[in-house]
């Protein structure tokens, strides 16, 4: 019976994926993409990847949905009116896409060698980190350098978004308040939901050490709550020149890096933790990272600065 369910959800996912590609309206395609993400998180739970399910639910329906919606809104002015591309262009685009898909399918379906799994090793050495969630162990102990660089990449992405703003608006605030017309129901929602969301984000960050969850999921929930508050106009988006915002953005990666260098003094080397304090240090890093990720993702989705500062 479980097989029937699995077949059902997989065929639904494939159908929705095909539908998303064929949708004519950009906004409808974005909505289908968000729906796809919500269903995908159920599939991840079926695969026992609860950490991934949490991330997919948070990022897929919160941040990427919002990013794609604002991208669609910006593209709207440039599309629609233009003439249809000529037949050779359509054929060329179609065959290139088919080629890439075939290549990807080939890579996935015909693996040269199945890579040896490191899972037993990861679980066997988990006790040294003081953590109970193997995913957190991989993220913050075994592959800490990757995690650190991912956070730096997020900051670079934010710089990229900011640089799309016009010269006059540099240092100003993203114009998110104008996104939705003033609306008392939305204001009520933006006052009721964030307290619940903040408690849940703190719980996610804290529980990540021993159960599925962690700084990234917690930070994403924080980001979504802040976006809701800014969209409803309950609080204005901060100017990007604000020193406080910039400190919050770098706090997490900076603390991570500092603890990494401290590893030379108190442990075996860069990004190594002393065995007795490993869990305490990792939880400290996770808390700072959750804050930074929250601010970074919210500002990424809020878009480039548009309003200039009042002098």
């Amino acid at each position: 019976m479980a097989l029937v369910f699995d077949i059902g959800i997989v065929s639904l996912l494939i159908a929705i994926g095909a539908w998303m590609i064929m949708a004519r309206d950009t906004l409808v395609a974005v909505i289908i993409f968000v729906v796809y993400g919500l269903l995908m998180s159920i599939a991840w739970v079926r695969l026992s990847a609860v950490d991934v399910a949490l991330t997919e639910a948070a990022i897929g329906s919160g941040i990427t949905g919002m990013l794609l919606l604002s991208a669609a809104a910006r593209l709207r002015q440039t599309e629609g009116a233009g003439a249809r591309p000529s037949f050779p262009v359509c054929v060329a685009a179609g065959s290139l896409c088919a080629l890439i898909s075939a290549g990807l399918a080939g890579v996935v379906l015909l693996p040269a060698d199945v890579a040896p799994t490191l899972a037993p090793l990861a679980v066997a050495n988990l006790a040294d980190t003081g953590l109970e969630n193997p995913v957190a162990g991989v993220l913050f102990a075994y592959r800490a350098l990757d995690t650190l660089l991912e956070k730096v990449v997020l900051l670079l992405a934010l710089l990229g978004v900011w640089s799309l703003g016009s010269d006059r608006a540099w240092g100003g605030a993203p114009a998110l308040g104008a996104y939705v017309p003033p609306n008392d129901i939305l204001v009520f929602f933006a006052q009721v939901l964030p307290p619940i969301g903040i408690v849940f984000a703190a719980y996610m960050t804290w529980t990540g050490a021993s159960h599925p969850g962690g700084a990234f999921q917690g930070g994403t929930v924080l980001a979504v709550m802040w976006l809701l508050v800014m969209m409803a106009g309950v609080a204005r988006a901060p100017p990007i020149s604000s020193t406080k915002v910039r400190w919050l953005l770098v706090a997490g990666p900076a603390l991570f890096l500092a603890v990494g260098f401290l590893g030379f003094v108190i442990a075996a080397g860069f990004l190594a933790y002393p065995v007795d304090y490993a869990k305490a240090l990792i939880v400290l890093i996770e808390i700072a990272l959750a804050l930074s990720i929250g601010v970074t993702l919210a500002l990424l989705a809020a878009g480039p600065p548009e309003r200039t500062l009042q002098p």
Binding site: N183, I185, L186, F188, F189, V192, L193, I196
Partner: protein
Amino acid sequence: MSGLLHAFTILAVSAGVVFFIAGTVGLVRFPDVPTRLHALTKADNVGLGLVVLGLLPYTGGLLGALKLVSVWLLTLLSGAIVTQLIARAVR
């Protein structure tokens, strides 16, 4: 006792599924947006409530049960608000 609990779960979850199906029938058949919104949020929220109720004996503790109930309460809240937002956007 366990037999009674099983019967309770089967009853509640079946009723929940019926509400989900009724919601979809309403979504397909109703003529305009406000009535369709009605079908979607009202029926699905009751459906989820009944499913949660039926699964409560399996949560393995008070904390798990509280989590399930708060999931339902959260859905009720967001359902009510999203309905109003969409209905206003149409008007």
